[in-house]
């Protein structure tokens, strides 16, 4: 039988791969892509690990299920409210919020905001590298003032000490306004050709 050219023998693995050497983006020059490291064949290396994970997990769960019974209380009775009546554990954080806030805030507004936040978190990643300094700078300023407000002792005078009396909603609104003002002012007065930084009192071509 003629030997298959692709055949590499039972013990060998596909450690080599065709790989990208450079990576050209719009803004930067050619960039060398990091070495992704050696590769292994999915069959059998990944599949055996998945199979092991499956078996270990099922065996462990069977052992627990043999000795730990699921709870079952009395037949449901709409006339007899247990105290406390608790939701499943993953909703107890929400129930804790309900203790402090009205149902609309704790039950609808906050969960919706959380879901929206974790969905768009991928778009907020740029904050981590501080590229969007026109958002970061006013945020840092407001955060610094918030921290400062905790150091104020009662009865002290001065305009900064008034901050200690402000509510959380005041801080959130102030943050929002600070960011909005900063973005608008910078966009209006300090941006020129190619959205580059310009000083408004200097004339420039374009």
């Amino acid at each position: 039988m003629e030997k298959n050219k692709i055949e590499t023998g039972f013990s060998s693995d596909a450690k080599k791969e065709a790989r990208r050497v450079v990576f050209v983006t719009k803004k930067t020059s050619a960039k060398v892509v990091g070495d992704p490291g050696p590769q292994l064949m999915t069959y059998p290396h990944l599949l055996i690990r998945e199979a092991m994970a499956f078996q270990l997990l099922v065996i462990a769960m069977v052992l627990v299920a043999l000795f730990w019974d699921a709870p079952l209380e009395q037949l449901a009775n709409p006339l007899l409210t247990p105290n406390p009546a608790k939701a499943p554990w993953y909703f107890l954080g929400l129930q804790e919020l309900l203790h402090f806030f009205p149902p609309f805030v704790a039950g609808i507004l906050i969960p919706t905001l959380v879901v929206v936040l974790i969905t768009v978190i991928i778009l907020l990643a740029f904050l981590a590298v501080f590229h969007a300094w026109t958002i970061f700078a006013p945020t840092a300023l407001v955060a610094a003032l918030l921290l400062f407000s905790y150091t104020v002792r009662e009865g002290q005078k001065g305009w900064l000490n008034v901050l200690a009396t402000k509510s959380l909603s005041w801080w959130v609104m102030t943050w929002f306004i600070a960011v909005a003002v900063c973005l608008t002012v910078v966009g209006t007065f300090f941006r020129g050709p190619g959205w580059s930084w310009v000083w408004p009192w200097r004339t420039h071509a374009g």
């Binding site: 298959n4 055949e7 992704p36 064949m41 690990r49 998945e50 997990l57 009546a85 909703f91 990643a125």
Partner: protein, 250 residues
């Protein structure tokens, strides 16, 4: 003995029947190993080769796999439980008692289903946090992150709808507390609650609706989204590579 078994298996793999089913002989070359993956309906969304780094336990803790394994366990035990369950008042509760005292291994079945359900919620949350801290949401993985968020919500609703089915005090009041929150929604709150419960109270109609959501609608949705989720992992270039001097972008 082991050698005999091995050679018997080897011979089996060379037969016409085996090849007609698996479309290949023994997987002893990298070519046939590749075919073993992309020629198989259940494996074809996997890449033929994987980075050695991605296979390490610390790369993922296999949390995605574990979540899916738990889903499969729930699927199997759930179907078995359906043989013994009537979504009606008060039969539902009696069926729980039957599972405990009449059905052979009934309590074990219910224990396993409940344990896997709680573990799945836990595993899916952990999976999400781990992916986040590894930067797994960064381009080109953004869409799969969003699919993952929807899968988290589906997991929570699956668990929550299942919570009512035993129809005991725990189930009834947990769901009553939860569905009362819905009526706090502006404008459509009460309508939505009515739609979900099939009435104004958690009663027989609510049980039937939660049952249908739990055993048909949400599992179908979950299967569909899991399919997209897995498929996109490969299409987006596998697990996020993290090497020195790399900002997570591939």
């Amino acid at each position: 003995m082991a050698a005999t078994l091995h050679s018997a298996l080897q011979n089996l793999r060379e037969t016409k029947v085996w090849k007609s089913i698996f479309r290949r002989g023994p997987a002893n070359t990298n070519r046939t190993r590749s075919i073993a993956v992309f020629g198989n309906l259940f494996l074809h969304w996997l890449p033929v080769k994987v980075r050695e780094k991605s296979l390490r336990v610390r790369a993922s803790y296999y949390l995605g796999s574990i979540s899916f394994i738990l889903f499969i366990v729930l699927f199997v035990t759930g179907i078995l439980l359906m043989f013994y369950y009537h979504p009606a008042v008060p039969h539902a509760y009696r069926d729980m008692k039957d599972l405990q005292f009449v059905v052979a291994n009934g309590i074990f079945l219910r224990n396993l289903h409940r344990l896997a359900a709680h573990l799945m919620v836990f595993a899916v949350f952990w999976h999400m946090f781990h992916v986040f801290y590894r930067g797994g949401y960064k381009p080109p993985h953004e869409f799969n992150w969003v699919v993952g968020v929807v899968l988290l919500l589906v997991t929570l609703f699956l668990s929550y709808t299942g919570y009512l089915l035993p129809w005991d005090q725990l189930a009834f009041w947990a769901v009553t507390v939860g569905t009362n929150i819905i009526s706090a929604m502006p404008v459509v709150g009460n309508k939505t609650r009515f739609l979900l419960l099939g009435g104004n109270i958690v009663g027989e109609n609510a049980l039937l609706r939660f049952y249908v959501l739990h055993v048909v609608i949400l599992p179908l949705l979950a299967f569909l989204l899991i399919g997209i989720h897995f498929w996109r992992v490969q299409k987006d270039g596998g697990l996020t590579a993290r090497s020195k001097g790399d900002d997570g972008k591939e």
